[in-house]
């Protein structure tokens, strides 16, 4: 834009009015800027406000172990006596005596997020290294947009794809491999985690790529001139220098996997089991909220417990985010030195 064009579009500010106008605009913009703060605060306030009401009707301990008190009719004395209470890790919100143990849900979340974090770290690290260290400019200009497209895939599409195309053949494959005893459910932790990694891999990959590319070229040049091969340079020089950036990418990936909802809802089997077998059906915290919130009566204990679960989830992601921020800030500072 040339100066004449700019001048043509300007009015000269000379009056008190125009000064007032400037101040008003600045104030309005500041309000817009503050909306993000308001939003994140309201999220915390409303989740905890709704969630903590649950503690009016149940104990905090019930969220760890659900307590069941059974009664027995004693014919001799013609009275009902209380049997010793039983404590179980059960999530059974809709029953005569609802049980609200978070343990199976948290373990389910950690299981799915853990497996997909491992898968997406391996693949994401590979692709990140490829993009930054190995790929030619031309390959990079193909792979990078492909990763960006993959980030843009709606999660429901991946969930549906796993559900309709992948789950059944995988089940049959494992059956034919003679693993029928281990591979219990068609929809399980592993299928869920596989689906989640499809959406996490591109995120991890592009963050690793960013971290590696932030390492100055001089370092690589120095290493190569000392006679190290390209792989030795990558593995012993570039990666160690970028380790905190890579770590931030991995933790961020784990956080994303923890928060993923639709894929696990459709593919992880939706049964709140406690299991170490990755081929069992599980249910995550996110899926539980998604499944049950619609049917839970508003203002009831069940709905409040679900809000509390949401509060736990948002606190977790907040903490993970804080860790990522700290690591990433340290990384940026080191790179700039």
């Amino acid at each position: 834009m040339n100066p004449a064009a700019i001048r043509a579009r300007l009015r000269h500010p000379t009056s008190f009015l125009s000064l007032a106008r400037e101040r008003t605009i600045e104030g309005a913009l500041m309000l817009c800027g503050a909306i993000s703060i308001v939003a994140i605060s309201l999220i915390f306030i409303f989740l905890f406000k709704e969630g903590l009401q649950a503690l009016g009707s149940i104990h905090l301990g019930d969220l760890y172990q659900a307590k069941t008190v059974a009664q027995k009719y004693d014919a001799a004395t013609e009275t009902t006596i209380d049997l010793p209470p039983q404590y179980t890790f059960t999530w059974q919100p809709v029953s005569e005596k609802p049980k609200f143990s978070f343990v199976p849900l948290i373990l389910g979340s950690i299981g799915v997020a853990g497996i997909s974090a491992i898968l997406s770290t391996l693949a994401g690290l590979g692709i990140g290294i490829y993009l930054s260290e190995i790929a030619s400019e031309r390959m990079r200009s193909i792979i990078k947009p492909a990763m960006e497209l993959l980030v843009g895939i709606p999660t429901i599409v991946v969930g549906f794809f796993m559900l309709a195309v992948v789950a059944q053949p995988t089940f049959e494959l494992f059956q034919s491999l003679g693993m029928a005893k281990v591979y219990n459910d068609t929809y399980n932790m592993f299928i869920g985690a596989l689906g989640v990694s499809v959406v996490i891999i591109p995120v991890t990959a592009s963050l690793v790529d960013d971290a590696l590319r932030a390492i100055p070229m001089e370092l690589r040049a120095g290493s190569l001139s000392l006679g190290a091969t390209r792989w030795q340079t990558t593995w012993r020089v570039v990666l160690p220098a970028a380790v905190s950036g890579v770590l931030a990418a991995v933790i961020l990936g784990f956080g994303r996997a923890l928060g993923e909802t639709m894929i696990v809802l459709m593919c992880a089997g939706n049964a709140p089991n406690i299991t170490v077998n990755p081929f069992d059906a599980v249910r995550t915290m996110t899926a539980t909220i998604a499944v049950e919130m619609g049917a839970a009566a508003q203002g009831g204990t069940h709905a409040q417990v679900l809000f509390l679960l949401g509060a736990l989830l948002v606190t977790l992601s907040f903490v993970l985010n804080l860790i990522v921020e700290t690591i990433a800030a340290r990384f940026r500072k080191r790179i700039r030195l």
């Binding site: 817009c32 909306i35 590979g126 709606p154 999660t155 990959a205 190290a228 792989w231 012993r236």
Partner: protein
């Protein structure tokens, strides 16, 4: 960095001194990495290919323009497309101004300091909040808090049992009075009941809930908060990419700060803002978890429209954002998991997925190309 370079190079020297198998390992690992990358790209192609292959055969004009029929096993998906499109339109109308102005404040006005750091942290955290949490928030804040209070203060809808009882008492009073009047007129049975019902509905109707329930407007507001970081970040990037010299030239011509921003900086940043908006729309169209409890329904008998409104020359219904709506993502989800015959509905599911994929991919591709072309990213 300098304290980093020497140990790094020492490691490199060590590695090369060991020599021997260096080139072999390089070959193995690099091949492994190439394979991983190829595999992921192939997975992407396989996903897209399958959805296209299975879904394309079922796409037709009827499919895109008709409502579903025969218990969702026949017919089209028009209401779902309609709901999705208007949802993201409302969403971007809310999110874009707030996001852009917020970014302008961050880049042009805010000084480095506490307030700016807090905003930055808030935006980062907002981007990291799990999508289902937005759903809970939208339900708890928009529907149950804002909506229910609007209903109470504007329309008199009771918020709790006590308030409902007040209305019930009033209705009983009116009913008693109406019964007396009906007796006085000596009405006979069908007319008698009808008369009383009419009187009660006329002077003490049960207020109908309008705002305090899941609706497109609240869903759009929830999604707007979800996509806010996307818009803020990409607008910030494009604002920073406007060279200082241009700003200085504008100041030198006597422009005020806002004049510089509105006439010079924002127009130059337009491609970047557009990219952010497109990415936000694609993101918003791809999300289901946040709106799951806020108005999406499996089957809505009608489109979310008002009664025809009289414009000067023609009559036309307008979208009513306070109604429930159908949504592409929810259509896929419920057809795949909850419908009576999921296998029979598979072609429809694939075709619906294909529509969603095409919609979001076209937008994402446009955003990527725009970003390449105007190069606002590093």
């Amino acid at each position: 960095m300098s304290d980093e370079i020497l140990p790094s190079l020492a490691r490199a020297r060590q590695a090369s001194a060991k020599g021997g198998n260096g080139p072999l390992w390089s070959l193995i690992f690099e091949t492994l990495i190439r394979c991983t990358t190829t595999l992921v790209v192939l997975v992407l192609l396989f996903i897209l290919g399958t959805i296209f292959y299975e879904g394309a055969g079922h796409i037709s004009w009827e499919f895109l323009s008709q409502p579903p029929s025969e218990g969702m096993t026949e017919g089209g998906i028009f209401p779902a497309i309609f709901g999705t499109v208007f949802l993201v339109i409302f969403m971007i109308l809310m999110a874009l101004p707030i996001g852009v102005f917020s970014a302008v404040f961050m880049v042009e006005y805010a000084h480095e300091g506490f307030f700016k750091r807090v905003i930055r942290a808030a935006v980062n955290n907002l981007a990291g909040v799990p999508s289902i949490v937005f759903g809970l928030f939208g339900l708890g804040f928009f529907v149950l808090f804002v909506g229910r209070n609007l209903d109470y203060y504007a329309l008199g809808v009771p918020r709790n049992a006590a308030e409902a009882q007040v209305i019930e008492l009033r209705r009983t009073e009116v009913r008693t009075a109406a019964m007396k009047e009906a007796d006085a007129r000596a009405l006979q049975e069908p007319a008698y009941t009808e008369f009383i019902a009419q009187k009660v509905e006329a002077s003490a109707p049960i207020p109908r809930r309008v705002f305090g329930q899941g609706a497109m407007f609240w869903a759009a507001a929830t999604l707007a908060i979800l996509v806010l970081p996307v818009i803020i970040v990409s607008t910030e990037e494009s604002l920073r990419a406007v060279p200082a010299s241009v700003r200085e030239a504008a100041y030198a011509l006597g422009a005020t700060k806002w004049q510089v921003i509105s006439t010079v900086v924002l127009p130059m940043a337009r491609p970047g803002i557009l990219t952010g908006a497109i990415l936000a729309i694609a993101r918003g169209a791809g999300e289901l978890a946040p709106i799951l409890f806020i108005g999406v329904v499996y089957a809505a008998p009608n489109l979310p429209l008002t009664e025809p409104i009289n414009f000067y020359f023609f009559q036309m219904p307008v979208v009513n954002p306070f109604l429930e709506f159908m949504h592409l993502n929810y259509h896929i989800y419920s057809l795949a998991t909850q419908s009576t015959d999921t296998e029979k509905a598979r072609p429809i599911q694939f075709a619906t997925t294909l529509v969603l994929v095409v919609l979001t991919f076209v937008m994402n591709l446009t955003a990527i190309i725009l970003r390449r072309k105007y190069g606002t990213r590093r």
